[in-house]
Symmetry: D2
Subunit: 427 residues, 4 copies
């Protein structure tokens, strides 16, 4: 389309004669469509929208898949932390971790934690559970029916339900169904193996088919909603913490006393104290249910953004626990993330920049065997989270040492000012 | 710098002779630095990293502010939902809402909810609390000291503490301090008015100064950490839900029966039932503490990403409650977000594309009076969240109506397939 | 012993020459011991302690079993509510429910709820899960060991662990072990079938033996504590709510419109509204995790006290959810109690008055088959809790109707005063 | 009444010709009434009910106050723990603590903890907050009205509301009202000073009057229920933990290394480890919200039962946190109970045996000044809870030492058997 033509349509949109989502009917392709829509919005709002223009983007590839009413691309700085040495069950080696963020100091601080971990023996990392869940809610006439369903019908018909579910998907495998009765309501939490995909879509479609099978074959049961918040998607919950969702992953490291002193300028006892008082007593006092940690969310959000994960799932993926122990003069530190929801295929992972970010870690696309790439990715993320926790706890704990230092003649005010400028963004 | 020179340094980095964060010493400016670093990473990983090249970005503007070890820019599709009619205390009018996402159907579905709201009387929106908090933890020798501090010393010295805190900032104002004793530990939750900034940095620096004043003037008190997780930053917590953090905002709408039927193809009773069973019984059963909603996180994450908010704060910003009532045949629906942490200045809001997104809503930069832009923004976000909830509840509830329809001869399979393809991404 | 002799010893105790717990060495039997100790305490405190004298009690039967340093008996009023018609899987019939309480109006109000239920079709009641748990915590050197233990060693050695556990008990049967890894820590939640006993002691002894077997046979694992709070005993927790502890039981009833109007002076819609706003929105707003109910604790505490259950277990036994639905003009109401911890043998159930209370319901002692008495008891308790909830919701909801009535000329003040005097104790 | 006459009426009741609650019409006084009712129940159930006969009880004193449909008295063993040295702000001295329980070993174990505390410097105890709350829920048409109510009307009319509330009570004083908006719903949490009474009734009646004033004077507001579960009564909640309910009380002690070794046969490090792993990591993993302790509920329940407190309030009164620190080789240990709901007048505190139990501690009836008795009582309870926690943590931690001992030749099996028999009942 020529510019005049596009301009004319944009004008009509700005006047309200054509609606935003109707532009596609008038545009030659998605690229024209985006241009027209952006111009229309710019005219309506009376502001130029030039920064979001992205000539390198082919909007035809996004269309109908990643977003609607598109007017451009948001750009977020992408850096790398590390490398970090990860000793996983599936990934072993040194790896740079891509992080997209607008918060200064975050990448630098995670890198410092990684350095300390590397100077020990690296980060050990293990995926302990793996499965994506969807939890529909049904209603029945009476608890009698719900009870009979759970105790008799469900075990007897599990294979048929599974067959119905798996018919919808080439990759998904139904692992189990966890039932929960509430009066005459029945929650069923379906958990699937979804290979390298995060698997939410796959799980929903499969569960809808399973629900249809159930409704067709158990008299008096009726689906209320295919998601009954017993999943729990994009929400923190204890069912996620106890049963896992996505990957349950743990990373740990021992930091020698020498590294604590020289790289982190602190001690095992000082870090252990801050961890206990802040992450455990503090979170409990605040009434946090599944976040006994300092800032998992910072690292999770930056990696999710860099690699095309669903940023709404930062919510439950940042659940978890930081545990420290003083071992002699060394520090043992671990992070446990029960519900890290990630994929290396599907969703935003196929967008050009996001795919490159995954490639930096060697985990873009499907793994061989299926599922191995996403588990490698989980091992790496947990190690990065470990580094972020270690560094922040260390930084906070220097407050203690700081006071000791100031007695030795260092300027206390400077020390505090320096820490302030370094520490705030990622507390 | 010429290409050869940059290539030579990149080569050295790839070989490990120069470290990633040392590149800046050899580069002419931040743009060269990014190019060298990206090339070095590409060489190391043996993959081309061409998509993340962003010629339109001046990295000198980001340097030392938004990220470290930068190698390029991540690009995320930016669309607009709406317009939606918002009737706030500070913002009144129709507004397009920018959303950055890679999840297909999200923007379209929020737009459908907005359409239904507009066909009623629009979304009423109110900021009920406003303030950013930081919650340090102190230790004392005994509860006797902690008790005396809270009952006697703190009220008597509040003004001096405030003066110490406010000396660090031109915009921040200390509103109150909420104390909480746990044994010999003492949490103090400082809450500030931070104008149009989200205000986390400002609050931390001010609180550090306040802590120093306290330590200098109350014998035997000692700061353990300036963040004691009683803030609670980047974590969900009941203290945030009860006291508020950032903006506490509520939006509501009445959807007439006719609009429910024609736009959303459902009824007030059907939506009300899904909301009760899914968002309340379901979340309670799952053990969610502050997310009695369907998918606040989806809308919050997309707007945060579009406008340069901190994506790690999606965690607590997506806390909240969806309440429905059947009023005759109409539907009353409200969303309450106790801890929406946003700003229109600072952080990532100044990046070019993010600033444009804020400009679409007319809330970029400092408002007049200070704070008004961020409150307008809060009113708009709550209205968008309301639209997202309304639409998803409606979509889920059609399952009910769907069954009725299928009796009238419509193809049930088709219906389910259609819903499946529409619904999964943003459940 | 003669009185003079006892008096002499009491005198010595009062002077501190003999310690309270040493009295047993000087007393002929437990009855003398109690008398001496009470007299000594009375002398020390300079108050007569005559009311607590209990001539009908043979302290020899309690000695070494139910309490130490005994000085008498506390007496609590025992009433009966009902009868209520219970339609359980194990108990069917009309039953009086003994309740011990000092809170006026509680028994009367539960009775009113029972009357309304009986005028419908009675209370349907079902035990959906049954098992007592104990959750030790272990530590290992690394998550690698914990992971290997859970994935390989535990499934392979489950039968041996079970054998070790069951060797300690004639009644207990190990049903399953739920593992949970936190860093290098490992929680194992053992669940047992414990017949008609509440089973906490049995479960602890069996679990200690199992832990010993594990420590002896898996290198590097070390028990930290046989109770790691993952049980969770005498605490509310989501693991109890999701997995059950003791009996998980649900009771439900449909209350016809006529009964609502005539007995409870309210309507299905009015009760449904109060239930939604108070028990769901209210509890969520307050930050209650597993008590989306009005006053389960009142009924549970009174029955526990009457029947010799452990009153500390009122804490988690009062967890649960009240769900209402309007069905035409009738009301469907259910209560779900996930962790009702009760027994009909052991603990305080063998004391004379407590055993009589159990006998009133026909559930004293061991059932045939074993376990049937405690499940019958669970069905009855849930029905009583249902009655208590129904009545309180009805009473609160008359506030609505009350306003309507006052328009018809009734004195509003009187109405409120009347309600006040009736309602407060058991809200 | 003569026996024949009473027998005749009992017969009629057993046949259903007279209802249980109608007996009072035919009985000369409450004592006869109880006898008739018990006989009727005995006939109906075909069991003798002789143990519950209590000749020493004058049922006329209970009638219309403490229970309905009374058939006798339940008897529970009453022992004393201690003495314990309490160093409170209101109570200073050594005190025996009455505990009613049927769980063997509980009193003995609390006593051992008390002994250890006494051999240090005693238990320091402080009430940090004091006030009873009632939290009604209102509805309005719109959040606009709710917002206006909270921001404008409530502060302006607080004194009038207070006057309306206080008119109903001679002792209660309204301290503050905490509002919380949820959509068009409004919670108001009224907190009162209630002197020496637990104060729930007083608070409800006063709040009903306040609600009436509000409804009469703010157009469009309507009370849904005088208890909206934002109180939170007989439920655990974060609002209770953060704001306090009843007494918020903290007790602490330092236990010298020598005492740890000789009395408790453990060390500061061993106890500290068990506390961290069990009470903090364990409770967090289980999903407990406000019970980061080992067994507060055991001590609370036994004291409540002994002294006529409301046993349903054991639920939230057992909320709290146990914190330990290693200080050199000594142990610092504290317990924080945010919502201990107790009274020394009213409820069951006036019953003969319960009053004697209060008298043992010198806190029966009204204090001078009013409120001082209940605060003294709170200081004592917290000290007893501290003793119970200390002892249980010590017992669990000897598992560690036990292993060391067994290397020195002691029989491991014996050790475990001994511990098993000692430890189970009160874990």
């Amino acid at each position: 389309m020529d510019e005049a033509e596009k301009g004319k349509i944009a004008q009509k949109v700005a006047k309200g004669e054509i609606l935003l989502h109707q532009i596609e009917k008038f545009a030659a392709d998605a690229n024209d469509e985006v241009e027209i829509r952006r111009n229309a919005v710019a005219k309506t709002c009376k502001i130029p929208l030039e920064s979001m223009v992205s000539k390198e983007t082919d909007y035809n590839a996004l269309k109908g898949k990643n977003a609607e009413n598109v007017i451009g691309m948001v750009r977020v700085p992408l850096g790398v932390a590390g490398p970090i040495r990860v000793i996983g069950a599936e990934f072993c080696g040194d790896v740079l971790v891509p992080m997209a963020t607008t918060e200064g100091a975050l990448i630098a601080s995670v890198s410092r934690g990684m350095k300390a971990i590397n100077l020990g023996a690296g980060a050990i990392s293990r995926v302990t559970e793996d499965g994506m869940s969807r939890g529909p809610i049904f209603e029945l006439n009476s608890v009698v029916d719900a009870h009979r369903f759970v105790k008799e019908w469900l075990p007897k018909n599990f294979n048929k339900i599974r067959a119905a579910a798996e018919k919808t998907t080439s990759h998904g495998r139904l692992k189990n169904i966890k039932p929960k009765i509430q009066g005459n309501n029945l929650f069923l939490r379906f958990t699937y193996d979804t290979g390298d995909a995060m698997g939410m879509n796959m799980s929903t479609i499969a569960t809808e088919a399973a629900c249809k099978y159930i409704e067709d074959n158990f008299a008096g049961i009726s689906l209320v909603a295919v998601s009954g918040n017993f999943c729990s998607d994009k929400k923190q919950s204890m069912v996620n913490a106890l049963e896992g969702r996505g990957k349950s992953v743990v990373a740990e490291a021992v930091i020698p006393q020498k590294v604590l002193a020289e790289v982190l300028r602190t001690s095992a006892a000082a870090i252990n104290k801050v961890n206990y008082k802040k992450n455990w007593i503090g979170s409990a006092t605040a009434g946090s249910l599944v976040q006994f940690n300092a800032h998992f969310a910072n690292i999770i959000a930056a990696i999710f953004l860099a690699t095309g994960q669903d940023p709404a799932q930062v919510v439950e993926s940042s659940s978890g626990y930081t545990i420290t122990e003083v071992r002699g003069s060394d520090l043992y530190v671990s992070v446990s993330l029960p519900s890290l929801e990630i994929g290396t295929i599907g969703g935003g992972t196929g967008l050009p920049t996001q795919k490159e970010a995954l490639s930096i870690m060697g985990v873009a696309g499907s793994g061989n065997p299926s599922g191995s790439n996403s588990r490698k990715f989980a091992e790496i993320i947990a190690a990065a989270v470990l580094a972020g926790e270690l560094n922040l706890l260390a930084a906070l704990s220097t407050r203690e040492l700081g006071k000791a230092h100031s007695k030795l003649g260092r300027n206390k005010k400077q020390l505090i000012r320096r820490k302030a400028s370094k520490m705030q963004p990622w507390l």
